[in-house]
């Protein structure tokens, strides 16, 4: 793929861009914080099981936000839960990403019209990097979401700050 350039033949020295190497390491070991809220959590578990294995991409579940890189918000976000999600997002250490899985956390989903207790989209409280549509999305769709996130990470730079407008607003 051209990331690693071998400058000297039959040698154990590889010359590569530091940024590419860091991004390559980061994107191939994204540890997610298992945060299943509702039905999409079952599909997230099915993606982590043997048939649509997550582990082959280097993605494993962690229970604590302090140890994870990405938070998959899988399921409906309610008003009662939204302040906790904000707190958990703030507990994750940077660089951190958010994948919004399923219709409910993208935009409120089937509960957009009369759901008085449903927050219409988790991006009203935290910034989201990838939206995965579906109700619930197939495991392959979630894997595609992760691949898109990997593409986003491989384009990141360690010198400039991430877009400051995307910082979370105080609730």
């Amino acid at each position: 793929m051209g990331i690693l350039d071998k400058k000297y033949h039959d040698s154990t020295i590889i010359i590569v861009n530091l940024q590419s190497a860091l991004n390559w390491a980061r994107k191939n070991s994204l540890w997610y914080e298992q945060f299943g809220l509702a039905c999409c959590a079952i599909e997230m578990m099915a993606t982590a099981a043997s048939k649509y294995d997550f582990d082959r991409f280097g993605i494993i579940p962690r229970s604590s936000p302090r140890q994870s890189d990405v938070m998959i918000v899988a399921g409906t976000v309610t008003m009662k839960m939204a302040s906790r999600i904000k707190r958990l997002y703030e507990q994750m250490s940077e660089p951190r990403y958010v994948i919004s899985m399923g219709s409910c956390s993208n935009c409120g989903g089937p509960y957009w019209e009369h759901g008085y207790h449903v927050l219409k989209g988790v991006d009203k409280v935290i910034p989201v990097d990838v939206y995965v549509p579906g109700c619930p999305p197939r495991p392959e769709a979630l894997l595609e979401g992760f691949i898109k996130l990997q593409e986003k990470i491989s384009g990141e730079t360690i010198i400039k700050e991430k877009n400051p407008e995307l910082k979370a607003e105080k609730v």
Binding site: M79, K80, A82, G108, W112, Y116, H117, K120, K124, V171
Partner: protein, 161 residues
């Protein structure tokens, strides 16, 4: 095993003709109507009487009747020993809703009554923990009433789209 009509006659014999009423819609299952003051006595009788023995409270639901300006509670009871079922309703005015709690008789009623309070605003007397259960504690309004308008913001998060 008794049918609902037989249970109705049994209760009438015990508590008098005017206290219990029998209703049936055009389709579906019939129900009895009891006044709120007799609720605890009748509930104890329904649970402990040897011929009735309703040992399980299957469901307790609140309802809002806007045309009569009343809030009602429907109780569905079942007896695992005899196999019969009964449904009865209790009504209370919508501006001052208060119904005695049956939590001491069937423990299931604990959470069901909290939910009825959360959704409709019906207060149950002698309930050990009368607090909201599904909506947050500082939620305004009673959501399942027919005239409910959701609040626009909750803790500065928009409830609309």
């Amino acid at each position: 095993m008794k049918q609902q009509e037989e249970i109705f006659e049994y209760l009438q014999k015990e508590f008098g003709e005017e206290t219990v009423e029998f209703y049936k819609g055009d389709v579906g299952q019939p129900w009895l109507k009891l006044p709120a003051e007799y609720l605890k006595k009748m509930a104890n009788f329904l649970r402990d009487n040897a011929e009735l023995r309703f040992n399980t409270l299957m469901c307790l639901s609140g309802t809002h009747y806007p045309d009569k300006s009343e809030l009602g509670v429907t109780y569905h009871l079942h007896s695992t020993l005899h196999g019969h079922t009964v449904a009865f309703k209790v009504a209370t005015p919508a501006d001052q809703p208060e119904i005695p709690s049956v939590e001491s008789i069937w423990k299931t009623a604990n959470w069901h009554e909290r939910e009825a309070m959360d959704m409709f605003g019906i207060l149950f007397k002698d309930h050990p923990n009368m607090k909201r259960i599904l909506c947050p504690d500082d939620w305004q309004g009673y959501p399942l009433r027919k005239d409910y308008k959701p609040q626009e913001y909750y803790q500065s998060m928009p409830t609309g789209t």
